[in-house]
């Protein structure tokens, strides 16, 4: 996936290195400017957290109080303990996202290996069918899936999200790209030693693909965690709600309680922020790699 850097370090000339070793005024100014814009990017998050701790009277005070005059925990308590507690939504979202993600990583890696490393009749045509399905927008599929799920009795159950969630064409595509970069000699040597495709897949390829699998796992999990549209279409009962639906419900029912709304939004965002901080490397690599190779 990574392209070999064509620039030899030796071709850099010495003045350039010298300039780098001094404190570079221009670089400091640029850093300050770009930090300023970066702050602008995260201002909504800061405002959200700050508002969730304010008293109702202070929400729209201008100039904006970035640090609340007193810490009001009651909005967060309301979100987590009220009649529609976020504990339920978290558990539902966690269940759906985790099972879907594990299924998606497993099934995609299997299929990707088939597409990348096994020669068989009809492979290219089949892959083309997969790719063409990437063009079909979810809006085309909502109605027929709704009718099918209703008929199969999984409408308004978590299965309506989990089962389709285990299949990601993007995942197959991405892992196939990765498997193609693993040199063929590696598996040829194993073939000569008498190993079959299953052993090569589990003992050779999968361990090598750990970074790619981690990337897919994180990206896929975040999709399911943030997925609002499918939940909106396929879930009805409040006790089945995922975090985005629960958040919407909370906001409909407390539409003048701005502090509570922001406490609920905080509850919705925090898990993704934590995952991002931990898995940043994988996420950024995955995003950059998948698109540049498009």
């Amino acid at each position: 996936m990574e392209r070999v850097n064509t620039v030899e370090p030796a071709t850099r000339n010495t003045p350039e290195i010298k300039a780098d070793s001094f404190i570079n005024i221009r670089k400091i100014i640029m850093t300050l400017i770009m930090s300023g814009f970066a702050l602008l990017m995260i201002v909504p998050f800061v405002w959200m957290i700050s508002t969730s701790f304010k008293s109702p009277a202070d929400v729209f005070v201008y100039p904006i109080q970035w640090i609340p005059s007193s810490l009001n925990w009651e909005h967060h308590i309301k979100v987590w303990t009220g009649s529609d507690s976020f504990v339920t939504y978290y558990l539902n979202s966690l269940k759906i996202s985790l099972i879907s993600m594990i299924g998606a990583v497993f099934l995609s890696s299997f299929a990707a290996y088939g597409f990348a490393r096994i020669q068989f009749k009809g492979r290219e045509a089949l892959f083309l069918v997969y790719l063409s399905m990437m063009m079909v927008p979810p809006q085309v599929l909502f109605v027929p899936k709704f009718i099918m799920f209703e008929w199969a009795g999984i409408y308004n159950t978590h299965w309506a999200l989990i089962l389709p969630g285990m299949f990601t064409i993007f995942g197959v595509f991405m892992l196939r790209q990765f498997f193609l970069t693993v040199p063929a000699e590696i598996s040829e040597a194993a073939f000569i030693d008498g190993a079959g495709h299953f052993r090569i897949f589990f003992q050779l390829i999968l361990p090598l693909a750990k970074p790619a699998l981690a990337t897919l796992a994180i990206i896929d999990f975040s999709w399911h965690w943030n997925d609002y549209e499918n939940a909106l279409v396929f879930l009805l009962d409040k006790d089945l709600y995922t975090v985005p639906l629960g958040l919407q419900n909370f906001i409909l029912e407390n539409n003048v309680d701005y502090n509570g709304m922001m406490a609920a939004a905080t509850a919705g965002i925090i898990p993704m922020l934590i995952i991002f901080l931990i898995g940043q490397r994988y996420i950024i690599q995955g995003v950059a790699g998948s698109a540049v190779k498009g």
């Binding site: 492979r123 063009m135 027929p144 540049v292």
Partner: protein, 293 residues
């Protein structure tokens, strides 16, 4: 021997792909075919009878005033894509070589993208609050007596959505640009510097043309991603005020699940598919022409 080996390979191939194929069949291919059929029917949820009505849904769509309103709103929504691309290019160039703490800054710019979803949409809803929200509070503070009503007036609501969308997409585009900028050979920039090129000239004459394949890719994938999205809009405005934020994808959702006009919704969803297909074909054609190194 060779023949039986091929046969064995084929069987193994299908064993590996089979489980995934089953799901793709059940959740993509069959629904897509079913939806294609529904387009020619008057299917309504809960209605006892369904009739084959030929092209009536398509005729209805082409005569539906709201369809054109939705198309216009979609167009305004899509304007966010090129704007976000230009801004993200500027950010990527700035972050590429000329700042300290590059990784931290990169993460901050990328954060909106990963935390996407309804949560941030609701935060923006309050930020845009017209009478006393922080944005208009600020605008009034710097002397603008009549700031826009943002999400609350029909004239400005779609542009407010655009602002949210630019903010959301910027980090994603920036990451891709950073990857592309790193592939520009260092010698090129060095040579330009020695020839006395100003930083602006290097950006304009070397960096921008060399990342043009990336720009094109981001434009097409961004357009496709945007045209499919309706979550943020459904969460904040449900298409209102009036129909001022009803984009095509939301229009489909509303017809299907608010009015249960599912046959009609299927027809509009295929119109959306046609638009996406046009973008995809443009991408294929463009890839051949634009990749020039």
């Amino acid at each position: 021997m060779n023949k039986s080996w091929m046969k064995r390979q084929s069987r193994l191939g299908y064993i590996f792909i089979g489980p995934n194929m089953l799901g793709v069949l059940l959740f993509f291919i069959i629904p897509a075919a079913y939806s294609f059929y529904l387009m020619f029917t008057d299917y309504k949820f809960m209605s006892p009878e369904t009739h084959f009505i030929g092209l009536a849904n398509i005729r209805r769509m082409l005569g539906d005033e709201l369809f054109y309103v939705a198309l216009k709103n979609t167009f305004v929504f899509l304007l966010a894509v090129p704007i976000s691309i230009v801004l993200s290019f500027i950010v990527a160039v700035a972050l590429n070589k000329s700042v300290y703490f590059q990784k931290t800054l990169r993460a901050l710019y990328f954060m909106p993208y990963i935390t996407s979803g309804v949560a941030v949409a609701f935060v923006w809803m309050l930020l845009f609050q017209p009478s006393s929200g922080p944005i208009n509070g600020f605008l009034k503070g710097i002397g603008i007596a009549h700031p826009p009503g943002w999400l609350s007036t029909t004239g400005s609501s779609m542009y407010a959505i655009d602002i949210i969308w630019v903010w959301f997409m910027l980090g994603y585009n920036m990451i891709i640009y950073l990857a592309a900028l790193q592939e520009i050979p260092e010698e090129l920039m060095e040579a330009a510097k020695i020839d006395g090129a100003r930083p602006w000239q290097i950006i304009r004459r070397i960096m921008w043309p060399l990342v043009s394949p990336t720009t094109f890719l981001l434009l097409i994938t961004g357009l496709i991603m945007t045209i499919k999205n309706f979550g943020i809009i459904q969460a904040i405005t449900q298409g209102g005020p009036g129909n001022s934020t009803t984009v095509l994808s939301l229009f489909i959702y509303q017809n299907a699940f608010r009015y249960y006009e599912m046959g009609y919704a299927a027809a509009i969803s295929w119109a959306l598919f046609v638009i996406i297909m046009i973008f995809t074909v443009l991408q294929w054609l463009g890839q051949k022409r634009w990749v020039h190194y």
